[in-house]
């Protein structure tokens, strides 16, 4: 494998890791606050559809992005209402959101565009274009550094950079600010937060809203940057892979980045090398396609060692003394 091919695979890995990373961080905010969120998938899907639909109708990708975030936020608030206000079961609420999004997106897509549950292909300003970072072309000639900068680092859509910047931002928010302290506390010991005179419900709603925004970004990225338009079930389990990455990362932002890059790389390899000829036998394409999912199962089966989730995760807070 030559240098350029390696770069291309890595480049593709970054693109593929981006939606995972955004969704993973979304889950991190929610779960660190004690709200399990199995509905990442559904929120991404809804955001993907509404962003693509809006972008295709208005021709403005930024409006599309806004619509995607609104859609994802709406589902987040439904989840919040069910699990925070009404103290319902968070898993069931999440599953319901996934079903709702899977069905509703296709239904509305068919009703609006009559293209078999997809949106028209996005063109021009309806899509996020790659950004060429300053100096990328100048540096191309320089060996090693040049190609790495121009191929790998430059030339992604803005959402990719947003996603990667979210990692240090999330870390800073969680561990260096008052909000982060309260968010983490509310996921570990809500009664401690309550007796300290801080609203448990308030902190949890903020967390759920941040989760909605990040899922919206992830979904919009899928439909308007990674691909050009919405197709049925286009998230393809990315929400669940993001959850796996979250557990793999033990709910820590930097580790979430590494985990998502790993999953992104696997997906990139699977895309690039459809059949790997090992001489004795050929690894079939199906195996490569399934690899990220197989890894997910292996990781979730406890391969990562003991992952201790936030202690109050999944439990509605009921005040008692």
């Amino acid at each position: 494998m030559d240098f350029l091919t390696t770069l291309q695979v890595l480049d593709s890995a970054i693109r593929l890791a981006t939606p995972l990373l955004l969704a993973c961080l979304a889950g991190l905010f929610s779960e660190r606050a004690g709200i399990l969120d199995i509905g990442l998938e559904g929120k991404m899907l809804a955001a993907a559809f509404f962003s693509a639909a809006t972008a295709s109708i208005t021709g403005d990708v930024w409006l599309g992005l806004g619509a995607g975030i609104v859609a994802s936020m709406a589902l987040s608030l439904v989840h919040g209402l069910a699990s925070i206000t009404f103290r319902g079961n968070q898993l069931i609420s999440g599953v319901a959101i996934n079903f709702l999004a899977a069905g509703l997106t296709v239904l509305i897509a068919q009703a609006w565009f009559s293209q078999g549950g997809r949106t028209p292909s996005l063109i021009g300003t309806g899509r996020f274009e790659p950004l060429t970072l300053p100096g990328a072309e100048m540096l191309t000639g320089i060996p090693l550094v040049g190609p790495i900068y121009s191929e790998l680092i430059s030339g992604h859509s803005i959402l990719v950079y947003v996603a990667f910047l979210m990692v240090p931002l999330t870390w800073w928010l969680l561990f260096r600010t008052r909000f982060g302290l309260r968010l983490r506390a509310v996921g570990e010991a809500p009664e401690a937060v309550d007796t300290a005179g801080v609203s448990v419900v308030g902190v949890r709603y903020v967390a759920v809203c941040i989760c909605g925004i990040l899922c919206g970004l992830a979904g919009a990225y899928l439909a308007t940057a990674l691909q050009a338009g919405f197709v049925k079930d286009m998230t393809a389990g990315r929400g669940f892979i993001a959850l796996a990455a979250l557990i793999f990362a033990k709910w820590r932002p930097w580790h979430a980045l590494y985990a998502c890059l790993l999953f992104g790389l696997l997906q990139a390899v699977a895309l690039r090398y459809q059949n790997i000829d090992l001489g004795a036998f050929v690894v079939p394409v199906q195996f490569m396609d399934a690899l990220p999912y197989i890894l997910t199962v292996v990781i979730l089966a406890g391969f990562v060692g003991k992952a201790i989730p936030p202690r109050a995760g999944g439990q509605p807070y009921v005040k008692e003394s």
Partner: protein
């Protein structure tokens, strides 16, 4: 101690408005009237005790004061001004701090993070953390409240966790500190330290409300005491003008015997014989090192010892849920110690009933109903089968009758076990085991966490069983209880029986030495008065005690070294008080001080798994 200066305090505070005044507070939960028209006035700068049995409404009242519940009617006056307390925030603003019975701490946060949570100065943490570090240092010096500010809370022992709770309240500038059953989870030494802290706080002018059901604490620590019974405030008196007996009577509503009445034992032949019993636990540590004892019919054999010296293991092997080697004979018949015929059910079939030490974990299934709990262990009894099914109707009727006889309140067999108070839960377990008419009753810590009224009843039941000619093996860490119930006392230390004594011919000093593993009393220069022993002699005696064979030396929590800055802090912790019921004043505190000078492992052989270490979990670099 604190009573000495109350007259002076009286003069000072008569002019000052009460720190807290409640007027006609009522609160009902559905049909249950938890608080009925409660009025109370707490003078500033005093320690005010509120005593009452479990369920008397103490905690509800304090929750109202802390904004957790809203009173149905009534007024709250703080420093003379009427104050609305709709939530905890308002209570904090009014200068009220609360130390809950179950700590409200974030386990994987550091002490500092816990302290500032909810009281941060700005959106960024660093300035708040720095400020808190300074304040903490100052508070530690002022009040003996030493805690390592960077320790992770889950690695601290309960005593230190409680200090964090107090620090949290002080950091929020609380002038009024409410402590709800603060000593329930503490060792005597830790409790002692707590009361020194409270005394220091009082001297600084803080007002302290101490909620407890332990008479001794009230008598020792408070200036004034209010008694609650069934949701009502029945009396408020000066502590110096009352007595434990009076308080007990006011709490329970009738005269209570703090001393059990019993006739001398009339023991028959041995029913339970144990020879050379050994047990190795899961970690490979030998917990029982050749125990031999026998219990005769019609007597109570008390096993005394510092917790963790093999008493629990003895109960477990005898009760059939741990394996052992050696010989156990019941009425001369040897029973299996391993394999298929060694479990709780086979033991019960052999006539050994067991009231386990930890009723929540081993005695009851908390979410199950009382009648279900009352049949466990006996559920294969042919008498209650109806074809292939259990005859639930019969079981319920029987359970109701037993609950009546054992004065379980409320006597409703359909209520879940967790809905009963500690004393009533214990009565359910006792009723189950005693009413099956066993030959041998094993009882572990029968009155731990039990109300004073229930203690009396439980002790009477145990003695009644003895008088019926049964053999009773009692394990208790409360020396008072051992003395008042036992006909013979065996002292355990490090998995061995150090000696047997008859209660009338021994005293607490002698038992204390045995509990510390010292048998050669002459050699230790003790006989008459261990009080006369110098520290050095005690240490020497302790060093000569059999070496505990724990594999690893118990590592103190990482924070320990840093938190107790004075080198003598450990020694000062020593003079412990027995926790529960009031009795004649102890001639000496030698028991506790001895165990404190011993190598640590004897006092607390580390049974519990080491604190969970997951340094990454709260790693800020995550």
């Amino acid at each position: 101690m604190s009573n000495a200066d109350t007259p002076e305090a009286d003069l000072l505070t008569d002019a000052v408005a009460p720190a807290i005044q409640l007027k006609g507070i009522s609160k009902a939960f559905g049909p249950v009237q938890a608080n009925k028209n409660i009025s109370i006035s707490v003078k500033p700068g005093t320690i005010h005790g509120i005593i009452g049995e479990n369920g008397a409404g103490k905690s509800t009242l304090m929750s109202i004061l802390y904004g957790f519940y809203k009173a149905d009617s009534g007024q709250i006056l703080i420093n003379g001004a009427e104050t609305q307390i709709p939530d905890s925030q308002a209570a904090i603003r009014a200068g009220i701090g609360m130390v809950f019975q179950h700590f409200k701490l974030v386990q994987n946060f550091t002490v500092l993070e816990n302290i500032i949570l909810g009281a941060e100065d700005g959106p960024l943490l660093r300035p708040s953390l720095n400020k808190a570090r300074g304040v903490l240092k100052q508070l530690a010096e002022e009040y003996e409240l030493n805690v390592d500010p960077d320790a992770v809370v889950e690695h601290l022992d309960v005593g230190h966790q409680q200090r964090v709770e107090i620090l949290k309240a002080l950091y929020r500038q609380a002038d009024i500190l409410i402590l709800d059953e603060p000593t329930g989870v503490l060792t005597p030494a830790e409790a002692d330290h707590l009361f020194r802290i409270l005394e220091n706080l009082r001297k600084e002018g803080k007002t302290i409300i101490l909620i407890t059901h332990k008479l001794r604490e009230i008598m020792d620590a408070t200036d004034t005491v209010s008694v609650m019974r069934r949701g009502e405030m029945t009396a408020t008196v000066q502590t110096s003008e009352t007595s434990p007996e009076r308080l007990a009577e006011m709490m329970v509503g009738r005269k209570v015997l703090l001393q059990v009445k019993k006739t001398p034992a009339e023991p028959a032949g041995p029913i339970l014989e144990v020879e050379n019993l050994r047990h190795v636990d899961e970690q490979g540590v030998e917990r029982l090192k050749g125990i031999s004892l026998d219990v005769r019919g019609g007597e109570i054999l008390g096993i005394a010892g510092v917790a963790g010296n093999g008493q629990s293991d003895l109960l477990e092997v005898l009760g059939g849920y741990a394996e052992g080697t050696g010989t156990i004979r019941v009425r001369g018949k040897e029973i299996d110690l391993t394999g298929r015929h060694s479990d709780g059910q086979s033991r019960r079939a052999d006539g050994i009933a067991h009231v386990p030490e930890d009723r929540h974990r081993e005695g009851l299934i908390m979410p199950f109903t009382a009648w279900e709990n009352m049949i466990f262990g006996y559920h294969r009894d042919p008498g209650i089968q109806s074809g292939p099914l259990m005859d639930n109707a019969a079981i319920k009727t029987e359970a109701a009758a037993k609950m009546e006889r054992f004065d379980v309140r409320p006597p409703d067999p359909r209520l879940a076990a967790r809905n009963f108070s500690g004393g009533n839960q214990q009565k359910i377990v006792l009723a189950r085991e005693i009413e099956r008419n066993p030959d041998i009753l094993l009882v572990g810590q029968p009155t731990r966490g039990v109300d004073i009224g229930a203690i009396e009843f439980i002790h009477q039941q145990i003695i009644r069983l003895r008088d019926e000619g049964k053999a009773i093996l009692l394990v208790s860490v409360e020396l008072d209880e051992i003395f008042s119930l036992s006909d013979r006392i065996a002292v355990m230390f490090d998995g061995r029986i150090m000696g047997e004594r008859v209660p009338s011919e021994t005293n607490e000093q002698e038992l204390g030495l045995l509990m510390a593993g010292i048998t050669d009393t002459a050699h230790a220069h003790v006989p008459a008065s261990p009080m006369a022993m110098s520290e050095a002699e005690l240490q020497k005696a302790a060093v000569e005690a059999p070496e505990p064979t724990t594999p690893e030396p118990p590592a103190p929590p990482p924070s320990e070294a840093a938190s107790d800055t004075q080198p003598s802090a450990k020694a000062k912790d020593a003079p412990g008080k027995s926790k529960d019921h009031q009795e004649k004043p102890r001639p000496s505190e030698s028991v506790a001080s001895l165990s404190a000078t011993l190598p640590q492992s004897t006092a607390s052989v580390p049974r519990q798994p080491p604190p969970r270490q997951d340094p990454q979990e709260s790693d800020p670099n995550g």
